[in-house]
């Protein structure tokens, strides 16, 4: 606690709680860590909160006190400063420190690189118009607004992709291939309606349009898993 509490305490300390004096003069943020004696009855419930608050601002408090009392505690401040100053740093130690800093720097760079790569992947997947996820979303919207689909599956249709180990079904299976110099992509996802047991497989193919750079739909059709297998064609632009 030296260096935390001010050196001179007022005479009112004898009459009241230390905690109340500190609160009255400097505000709650300046309580020293653990300085509030629990004998003050009204603060019995407060100490944990105040201690936490005090610990949070402990770092600024020491600097604040040093800055606030330039005249009186000069000797104490200068003693602390002399103790904190480093002794002579030899060349070998400098080299070791430089090597350690360099390794840390490399580690930080690798970390930033990996994080940046992951961010790039997720942005491309979510925001680029040529990502399978976006095409799946558009196709699902078209399925939802198609009257024949609604009549077969019901009103609310949910779509999902392939099931992974944990049961999450986010991955939509897709294949990209190049035909006649243009990029094509085929997707396959599943839809399910409110009526139980009615499941369907949606096949989508998109073709790249060189002028706009976006993917255009070539066809969308739905295979309904009923006994006489039905195929509903939603869009056919071949």
């Amino acid at each position: 606690m030296p260096g935390v509490l001010p050196r001179t305490l007022p005479a009112s300390l004898g009459r009241g709680c230390l905690g109340r004096w500190l609160l009255a003069t400097r505000g709650w943020a300046l309580l020293g860590a653990g300085a509030v004696p629990c004998s003050c009855p009204r603060w019995r419930l407060r100490p944990p909160l105040l201690l936490r608050a005090a610990r949070q601002s402990f770092g600024t408090q020491a600097g604040g006190l040093k800055a606030a009392k330039p005249g009186g505690d000069n000797k104490d401040v200068s003693v602390h400063r002399a103790l904190n100053e480093e002794t002579l740093v030899s060349a070998a130690q400098k080299v070791k420190e430089a090597g350690r800093d360099f390794t840390y720097f490399i580690v930080v760079l690798v970390g930033i690189g990996v994080t940046g790569g992951l961010f790039y992947v997720i942005f491309k997947e979510l925001f680029s118009s040529s990502s399978p996820n976006k095409i799946y979303g558009d196709a699902l919207e078209k399925c939802r607004s198609h009257p024949e689909i609604i009549s077969v599956f019901g009103d609310s249709i949910k779509g999902y992709g392939e099931a992974t180990r944990r049961g999450r079904r986010q991955h939509v299976s897709h294949i990209e291939y190049i035909k006649d110099g243009l990029k094509h992509m085929r997707l396959k996802f599943y839809i399910e309606g409110t009526e139980s047991g009615k499941q369907g497989t949606v096949h989508v193919e998109v073709k790249e349009n060189l002028e706009t750079g976006r993917f255009e739909v070539r066809y969308i059709f739905v295979d309904v898993e009923t006994y006489p297998r039905r195929t509903i064609v939603i869009e056919d632009n071949r």
């Binding site: 997720i122 991955h171 071949r238």
Partner: protein, 166 residues
């Protein structure tokens, strides 16, 4: 699809909660074992006892907080899937952000926003890693026969063929 007829969603919550607890307990156990070992007096018996005490005290706490995070995340994720009607990476990122926000609710709105940002970014990174892994794993297997013909299900509708010849 028939063998996995059960919907994953409500049961996924219990799965994720338990998985998160296990991760937290094992990770916390290892970490606390080392910490307890180092912070004990000299002597192998003292150190072992110290690390065991540390594990017994702290590892369930860490497991519990992980379990809360995992269970809440999965609950919000399943609710979003039910509301939106489709599954995708956006659900996970939003669920992560909401989980972070809810768990920081006792610290005020600013802390909620910061915690939500952290949760969302963490989930975005995890989703990105998942996408990378699936892409990488799918390129490992040689591709099937290139289907350059259109599938046979498209033959029935005759009108489209007419349009092409106009």
């Amino acid at each position: 699809m028939e063998e996995y007829a059960r919907e994953p969603c409500p049961w996924r919550i219990v799965d994720d909660c338990g998985g998160a607890f296990t991760m937290g307990a094992i990770g916390g156990g290892i970490f606390q074992a080392i910490k307890g070992f180092r912070n004990s007096p000299v002597g192998v018996n003292h150190r072992l006892r110290g690390s065991l005490t540390a594990i017994k005290t702290r590892a369930p706490q860490l497991g519990g907080s992980f379990a809360v995070w995992g269970g809440l995340f999965s609950m919000i994720d399943c609710s979003m899937v039910r509301m939106r009607g489709k599954e995708g990476p956006w659900n996970s990122i939003t669920s992560g952000a909401l989980t972070g926000a809810i768990l920081a609710a006792r610290n005020g709105p600013v802390a909620m926003v910061g915690s939500a940002a952290m949760g969302g970014i963490l989930l975005a990174l995890i989703e990105g890693a998942g996408i990378l892994l699936t892409r990488f794993a799918s390129t490992q297997f040689p591709n099937g026969p290139q289907l350059s013909e259109d599938p046979s299900q498209l033959q029935p509708p005759p009108f489209s063929n007419y349009q092409q010849y106009q």
